[in-house]
């Protein structure tokens, strides 16, 4: 009898244990931060906290190196092997949503209160993804350079006009102190071109596509404003203000620090390295205003639910958990990116009031414009990149932009308007 009781107790005990262990539904998650130990550690701690905080969901992370992440996701989508939680780059999200790789994220509005708008990925009126951080671009300069050249220090409220900006480049060139007045970052190819340079086009009044319909690039990329932008862009190289597409990547990384360039158009992620490189008086200036306001690119990595995930509510629960200010601040302190809320920014060492990179938070708040929210962006971005490289290398501005428009329009047409 005693043996029987013991066996029954053991059976109940093991069954109960198994019941506890299997109560949590596993949510696999793919993340682009493979190779970034700090980033991975922070994410793993968020996941551990989430798994321990509730009994419904158990998130497990598989990290990928960023350079191959998108290809891995597309291949997995083809093979029907997507995870539940996807990490997605902001401008790519509409394409993945349109292709069915992602589904709407059933997250509460309250969870998104106070977040930078550019960290919320929306498509067709629904939230698909949310980011814990943002990135921003600024014009790097030395205060000593501005003083020596007699230049006004531009502010968020009073950025340089286009004329002031060109006068600053001319003054830097005339000083003979620099190899080039401006380093736009031509050595960085790929997404850097549309991310960093399309804001100039937008400031001129143009755009990569017509955002009112997303059905054409006609007029936006080859209208008068775009032509003016193209002429200005080409003049940077023909006038000798900036190194061309053959820029040495090493110069891109250290040229400003070494004093080869008076100004550098660069992201907040390079801020700490610049300070560590000994540029104590670096100032992060807003983009110049070419007539339609100062604009910088926006939209970084975000979390969402894959199209095949049977538990989007579980994904939403995880994302809501991850959006706590303490985690946003931890990511910012760890990898230098901009936290997505003011409260979190105040908790960081770089973006709090008086922090070395605090101007970037203001830039994101005031000037950020997400790249065209369209599935066709992934193609348009590559076309735009090639057009800008060609123009920098001396191609005819009008012909190049017309050809780019034709290519973008053909792609939109081939894909039935991309669901807009």
């Amino acid at each position: 009898m005693k043996l029987k009781t013991t066996l029954v107790a053991a059976l109940l005990g093991t069954t109960g244990f198994a019941g506890t262990a299997t109560a949590q539904t596993e949510l696999t998650m793919w993340y682009h931060g493979g190779g970034n130990e700090v980033e991975s550690n922070i994410l793993n701690s968020i996941v551990s906290d989430f798994n321990a905080s509730q009994g419904d969901w158990m998130v497990s992370v598989e990290s990928f190196p960023q350079g191959s992440y998108n290809d891995s996701v597309v291949a997995a989508a083809l093979a029907g092997n997507l995870p539940c939680i996807l990490d997605v780059d902001g401008p790519v999200m509409p394409n993945w949503a349109w292709a069915g790789y992602m589904q709407p994220l059933p997250i509460s509005d309250a969870a998104l209160d106070g977040h930078l708008d550019s960290t919320i990925g929306r498509w067709n009126g629904e939230v698909y993804s949310v980011g814990l951080w943002e990135a921003a671009v600024a014009l790097y300069a030395r205060q000593s350079t501005l003083d020596a050249l007699g230049l006004r220090t531009p502010t968020l409220d009073a950025p340089w006009t286009g004329d002031e900006f060109m006068a600053a480049l001319a003054a830097a060139k005339a000083s003979g102190e620099y190899e080039f007045a401006l380093d736009p970052g031509m050595a960085w190819t790929g997404e850097w071109y549309p991310y960093a340079f399309s804001p100039f086009l937008q400031s001129f009044g143009g755009d990569i596509v017509d955002r009112s319909t997303y059905q054409t690039a006609e007029g936006a990329l080859n209208g008068d404003a775009a032509l003016a932008f193209g002429d200005w862009w080409q003049s940077l190289f023909t006038e000798g203000y900036a190194p061309g597409t053959s820029q040495d990547p090493a110069d891109r990384d250290t040229g400003f620090i070494d004093g080869k360039y008076a100004f550098s158009w660069n992201g907040n992620w390079a801020g700490v390295a610049t300070l560590d490189g000994g540029v104590d008086d670096v100032v992060f200036l807003p983009a110049p205003d070419f007539g339609n306001g100062s604009v910088i690119g926006a939209g970084s990595w975000q979390f969402g639910a894959s199209g095949t995930c049977p538990h989007p509510d579980g994904v939403a629960a995880f994302v809501e958990h991850a959006l706590q200010d303490q985690y946003l601040a931890a990511f910012s302190d760890g990898i230098g990116l901009i936290p997505s809320t003011t409260e979190a920014a105040a908790m960081t060492k770089n973006y709090a009031a008086g922090g070395a990179l605090q101007p970037f938070f203001g830039l994101s708040e005031a000037q950020a414009l997400v790249r065209p929210v369209s599935p066709g962006y992934v193609v348009a971005a590559k076309v735009f990149e090639k057009a800008l490289a060609d123009i920098a290398n001396g191609a005819d501005v009008a012909d190049t932009l017309d050809a780019a428009v034709d290519e973008i329009n053909a792609d939109i047409e081939r894909n039935g308007g991309y669901g807009h």
Binding site: G35, S63, S68, L78, A79, T254, D258, W269
Partner: protein
């Protein structure tokens, strides 16, 4: 007259050595740059690229990049995966492709010439064109293993090995080599009562050292440098090879010193393998004219 001939000979010798040295420098300097840069901090590495210092162990030299590289990524695991996948694939490829070539050259069966032509024709098909269909295929293939019966080969070693075992180039190399073997030898073996299997194992393969070395090195390089295929069929870090692992080092701010340290580490197996087989490889190239 004898003096003039001697002078010409000396001049030609000097010229030859100068040219060969210059060519050697062109090929060796990237390796020297890689190794030297792997000991330097990033800022110094980038600044040194503009001069001869890039090729010298000068400045702030340390093993820090190697330590950081091993901390950033599971380097040993990636090297193990690549060596395992490459080693098994090379061995199976040598076995099966040589058997196929043996069949094409020495056995008489209907359609062998047509089939050989088709196999050789696959050499002109870029892998990229069949990558997606192959992905869809392997994602649906059945398998019986320790986990029982499963569907789909993704995230495994076998998906990196099996599709690469047989290839047109390796079969072609063996076919060409086997064709040059003396027929009398095969016929004499048949007369002596040897089976085809015995002829393959005891007669043909022992004579095929050079082509085995050539095929092994070419296959080794193809497999060790695999990027696209493992990228799309392997999502778990456990099975990732070295070339996909290289992407771990390209972050927002690329750690160039760690990149060089990682490249130095993953180059070691390739150089070791080549040094072991180089004599046979060179002999094979000299005799068959095959270029890698």
């Amino acid at each position: 007259m004898a003096a003039i001939t001697s002078d010409n000979h000396g001049l030609r010798l000097v010229t030859r050595y100068v040219v060969l040295t210059l060519i050697a420098i062109i090929f060796v300097f990237p390796l020297i740059f890689m190794v030297m840069s792997s000991f330097k901090p990033d800022l110094q590495l980038l600044r040194d690229t503009s001069g001869i210092r890039a090729f010298l162990p000068v400045g702030d030299i340390s093993l820090n990049n190697y330590v950081a590289a091993f901390e950033r990524a599971p380097v040993a695991l990636f090297v193990f995966n690549s060596v395992l996948v490459t080693g098994v694939t090379v061995l199976l490829s040598l076995l099966l492709c040589s058997m196929a070539a043996f069949s094409f050259v020495f056995l008489q069966w209907r359609g062998r010439n047509v089939l050989l032509s088709i196999i050789i024709a696959t050499l002109i098909v870029p892998f990229e064109t069949i990558a997606i269909p192959l992905l869809l295929l392997v994602s649906k293939l059945p398998w019986i293993g320790f986990d029982g019966f499963t569907i789909g080969w993704l995230n495994s070693y076998r998906v990196q090995i099996i599709p690469w075992i047989a290839d047109g180039l390796t079969i072609f190399l063996f076919v060409q080599f086997f064709k040059d073997l003396p027929r009398d030898l095969i016929e004499a073996s048949r007369v002596e009562g040897a089976s085809w299997w015995q002829i393959y194992t005891k007669v043909v393969m022992p004579l095929s050292g050079p082509v085995i070395a050539t095929a092994a090195i070419l296959k080794f390089l193809v497999m060790y440098n695999q990027y696209l295929w493992p990228l799309i069929v392997v999502q778990e870090e456990t099975y990732r090879p070295v070339m996909v692992g290289l992407q771990y080092f390209f972050q927002l701010n690329t750690a160039w010193g760690e990149v060089m340290a990682y490249l130095t580490v993953i180059t070691v197996p390739v150089l070791t393998f080549y040094l072991i087989l180089q004599r046979a490889f060179i002999a094979s190239i000299a005799s068959t004219g095959v270029k890698g």
